[in-house]
């Protein structure tokens, strides 16, 4: 492209300006000499010839100037000059400049970090070959597909490859005479070949491999102490030897996304898998869908299932980007909402910082009003002056963004060290990249305009003549109005931030003293998972485990259950069923939390039975089916009438008798309200390979946790056991609230600090402007009280306006936060707003003190000479 060549040539010029000038001079000398030679040949004396040649050539300086300008990129050089000028004027007032850049850096650092983390959490690209042609498959409305069906689809050879994985399985690792719980991902032997997941050391799992494992970097580093001979080492997993054949790279990201990371991948047949298919080159998703649909039609004939029509709800979805988010919809919404909230909050902090910087630049532009007016009257173009003033804000924005990025890198490193001990751990890997740079550049651009445009326009407006006469006082007043508006805006958004922060703080406080409806101080929970057993064997195993647990010192009660409250990963089944109470015609649809529990469950967790009875040993398999409802469920099904003794008919026409009503408690989240629950006797539920034991003791000490853990581990060395006190489980549920309170609180404090600096600056400036007026008043007999009232009323006016606007905005803005809060903390609570207004008034008062002292110290004799 000719244009690009031209820009390239101009750019090259920038780096050879000195030789260019030398050569041009030489060339012009030659020109003059050549002309002189010619004149001499025509008969003129040498000296006269040279003189005439020079005369004819004209001003070589002007020619040089014009010739150079043929090469110059005017705006670029102007920009350079403007930036140098701006840097000089910053250096004259380094503290103000540092404060301005520093406050920008805080806001931008926080905001870009939220961007980095959100991008990583939601949009990170999984480690695999060519994610575009890799799809995750749902069959029969579910991503989980039994092994037999998986093999059938695989044998149909629809795709280039079809691998299966079961993420997040607990694996029991036996080392010496101790066992450790690992998070393992069970994979089919072709999973690595289909996905093309890269390994850092050794090799990936290949077709035909059995009893092999590929370990993650973290496992190799922390559990195997970076063993250089890890490849070939044998790990005893679930009582079976596995050979380690590969180590994954440090930045391995699972296909599941969200920075989940297991300890290892191992070849093991599991009951069901998630399917990943590699589409052949050039095969469109629609074509793949059609072929899959045909095979699933055959599945319906080969594996008829009343509950699952294989050929319905087929989906092929991408393993990254927005599609993966949509696949994980219910899980993603709160996470995305959380990031969005943080993004908005940190964005507000950037805006507050911008207001401070803008205010500072405005003051500076007005102080230079006279100079600017003179330059304009001498013919300086307004556009040129505006550009020069904008250069200052550009410089501040660049410095602020640069420092913000450094803060971002530091915070990223900090975050990347985090290990969130969910059952399948989350370890963020946050790395800076091009998108972050582009995002930061966009922010710097917005900040430049937001901070610089108003002062630049304001500083170069209004009549030149008036300016020269007034010394800029007229426009100073106009600028004062803008600065006041900025401070009011800052105070208002600080109120919004503070309101949010206070809500989360109250949430944390009330949640800590919050009654989940069960006793969290005296109970221990243990998740127990074995290989496949027959139902009878498993029931016997559970009975033996209970015997052992009850025999432990300090244990008062123990019970099995099928779910753990407040743990979204071991959550309750949530059926949505149309019941017919009393077997009548009336149908009531209820979505409820289902859990199967042993007779002592209610005693163990301290959940009172309000009516009827708890389960007993008589409620066993074969005995009449019974259930206990919580209050919400009983009310929904039977209105206000007594529920005990009534029957519930399920849609498949089997009846269950209600034997008791238990008090409401929390099931999945602390924030849920009015949740329904139905308990069934554990003994009446069919086989499971895993169960949770709840144990009540005099306390739930670490020693108690260990005793329970060891006791169950010894019972079945092949079982994976994971034990926690209920206190710990409960605190895990508080974590999001704690993170939100900390982040939002920090942001609110920074915002408040910046806003109070803004207020302080504006008041100080206003007093500086009115020094003469104050002096006259004092000379005429104004008392210190009058002066105080004058400054205080100025401050009060700004604060009152800010608080009023802020409260109105906050009342609307905090409403969506309800989804993160326990019901006891209502976003609309007036008490919140009163508290926030008080905090703001207090801080504003502090910011007013110094300017007031300055005003009181005004000496009339000095002030009257002030100009």
């Amino acid at each position: 492209m000719a244009l690009w060549d031209e820009i390239g040539r101009r750019f090259a010029y920038l780096f050879r300006r000195a030789p260019f000038d030398r050569e041009l001079e030489e060339e012009m000398r030659f020109h003059i000499q050549a002309r002189a030679d010619e004149l001499e040949e025509a008969g003129a004396p040498a000296a006269a010839a040279l003189a005439q040649a020079r005369r004819e050539f004209g001003s070589s300086l002007r020619i040089e100037e014009e010739t150079r300008s043929a090469w110059q990129l005017r705006w670029l050089e102007d920009l350079g000059a403007d930036l140098r000028y701006a840097a000089r004027s910053m250096r004259r007032n380094p503290i103000l400049a540092a404060a301005a850049a520093g406050s920008l850096a805080l806001g931008i650092g926080a905001n870009t970090t939220v961007f980095s983390v959100a991008k990583e959490a939601l949009f990170s690209r999984p480690s695999c070959r060519d994610p575009q042609s890799l799809v995750e498959i749902s069959v029969g409305r579910d991503v989980w597909i039994p092994m037999a069906q998986y093999r059938y689809i695989k044998d149909a050879n629809l795709f280039e490859g079809l691998g299966g994985a079961n993420i997040g399985m607990v694996v029991n690792w036996r080392l010496g005479n101790r066992s450790y719980r690992l998070a393992g991902t069970h994979v089919t032997d072709d999973f690595f070949e289909v996905t093309g997941i890269p390994v850092a050391m050794g090799r990936p799992i290949r077709r035909g491999d059995t009893d092999v494992a590929v370990i993650t970097y973290g496992f190799w580093k922390n559990r195997l102490a970076e063993d250089p001979n890890a490849i070939g080492r044998v790990l005893v997993l679930d009582d079976r030897p596995y050979r380690v054949i590969g180590v994954l790279p440090r930045d391995h990201r699972m296909l599941a996304g969200f920075d989940f990371i297991p300890d290892l991948y191992l070849t093991k047949d599991t009951s069901e898998v998630m399917l990943y298919a590699r589409l052949p080159q050039g095969m469109a998703r629609s074509a793949a869908y059609a072929r899959l649909k045909a095979v699933c039609g055959e599945l319906d004939r080969v594996f008829p299932d009343v509950n699952r029509k294989w050929a319905t709800g087929l989906r092929l979805s991408a393993v990254d980007g927005i599609e993966r988010l949509r696949e994980n919809g219910p899980m993603v919404i709160p996470v995305a909402a959380f990031f969005a909230m943080l993004g908005v909050v940190t964005g507000i902090v950037v805006l507050i910082a911008c207001a401070n910087v803008s205010s500072l630049l405005l003051a500076r532009a007005l102080a230079r009003a006279r100079e600017l007016a003179i330059r304009m009257s001498l013919g300086g173009s307004r556009g040129r002056l505006i550009r020069q003033l904008l250069a200052e804000s550009l410089l501040l924005a660049l410095v602020g963004t640069g420092a913000g990025l450094l803060l971002n890198l530091w915070l990223d490193r900090l975050m990347s060290g985090i290990h969130i001990p969910t059952p399948l751990a989350i370890e963020p890997i946050i790395q800076p990249d091009g998108t972050l740079l582009a995002y930061s550049a966009a922010i710097a651009f917005v900040v430049t305009l937001a901070t610089g445009l108003a002062p630049a326009l304001k500083g170069t407006r209004s009549g030149i003549a008036g300016r020269l006469q007034e010394g800029g006082r007229e426009s100073a007043r106009a600028g004062g109005a803008l600065r006041n508006a900025l401070v009011v805006g800052q105070l208002a958004v600080s109120i919004v931030l503070l309101s949010g922060g206070l809500l989360f703080l109250r949430n944390l406080l009330s949640a800590a003293s919050f009654n989940a409806g069960f006793d969290t101080e005296h109970s221990v929970e243990s998740t127990f998972q074995t290989g496949a057993h027959s139902p009878r064997e498993f029931a016997a195993l559970v009975d033996r485990a209970l015997e052992r647990l009850r025999a432990l010192p300090g244990v008062e009660a123990a019970s099995p259950a099928s779910a753990v409250p407040l743990n979204p990963f071991l959550a309750f089944n949530r059926p949505n069923v149309k019941f017919r109470p009393d077997g009548g015609a009336r149908e009531v649809r209820v979505e409820y939390n289902f859990t199967a529990v042993g007779p002592d469950y209610f005693r163990t967790l301290g959940i009172p039975i309000l009516e009827g009875r708890a389960f007993s040993d008589a409620d066993r398999a074969g005995a009449p089916e019974v259930a206990i409802l919580n209050e919400n469920m009983a009310r929904r099904l039977f209105g206000g009438t007594r529920a005990v003794g009534r029957t519930l008919r399920f849609p498949d026409n089997h009846d269950v008798t209600v034997v008791g009503v238990a008090r409401n408690c929390k099931y999945v989240t602390l924030g849920e309200e009015g949740a329904a629950a139905l308990y069934a006797p554990y003994a009446q539920q069919p086989d499971r390979a895993n169960v949770h034991f709840f144990v009540r003791g005099r306390g739930a000490s670490a020693a108690m946790v260990r005793r329970v853990d060891e006791s169950l581990g010894d019972l079945d060395p092949t079982a994976a056991v994971d034990t926690h006190s209920m206190h710990e489980v409960f605190h895990g549920a508080l974590m999001p609230s704690r993170v939100a309170a900390a982040t939002l609180g920090a942001m609110a404090l920074i915002g408040l600090l910046l806003a109070s600096i803004g207020l302080y600056g504006v008041l100080l400036y206003a007093i500086h402007q009115r020094t003469r007026e104050i002096g006259i008043r004092v000379a005429l007999g104004a008392t210190p009280g009058n002066v105080l009232a004058m400054v205080a009323s100025e401050s009060l006016r700004l604060v009152a306006a800010g608080v009023a606007i802020g409260l109105a905005a906050a009342a609307v803005a905090v409403r969506p936060l309800a989804m993160f809060l326990v019901p006891e903390v209502r976003p609309g609570d007036p008490l919140n707003f009163v508290a926030v207004a008080c905090v703001l008034a207090l801080v504003a008062g502090l910011a007013t003190v110094a300017p007031t002292l300055r005003a009181l110290g005004v000496d009339p004799a000095v002030a009257l000479r002030h100009e």
Partner: protein, 111 residues
């Protein structure tokens, strides 16, 4: 040399003249002026002041390239030559110029 006897250049024709002067081969700045003056039968005189800015604008546009060499009087001089881009530009501008001149002449004769 009185400039009042020499007609002013039509705007935009300076580039065309320089390009045409260089068609015969590389020349230094002074030689370009001379070539144009001679070829026009002393009818056109390029201002020394506008020559070098024009040459440099043409370098920026890539129509010309320059290199240092030795002049006929054994002095070091900078020679300019046409690039391929410059040749194309010459053809374009010469064609346009011809059309313009013919059109003007037509008007002058008939209108």
């Amino acid at each position: 040399m009185g400039s009042d006897s020499i007609p002013e250049l039509l705007p935009g024709t300076l580039y065309l003249l320089i390009l045409r002067a260089l068609r015969g081969g590389p020349l230094h700045g002074y030689a370009i002026v001379k070539r144009i003056k001679e070829a026009s039968g002393e009818g056109l005189q390029i201002e020394d002041g506008s020559l070098y800015p024009a040459l440099n604008r043409m370098l920026v546009k890539g129509w010309l390239a320059s290199e240092w060499g030795i002049s006929e009087n054994n002095r070091k001089a900078r020679f300019y030559r046409l690039t391929r881009e410059g040749r194309k530009q010459l053809e374009r501008e010469a064609g346009e110029f011809d059309r313009l001149v013919r059109a003007i002449q037509l008007v002058m004769r008939t209108a």
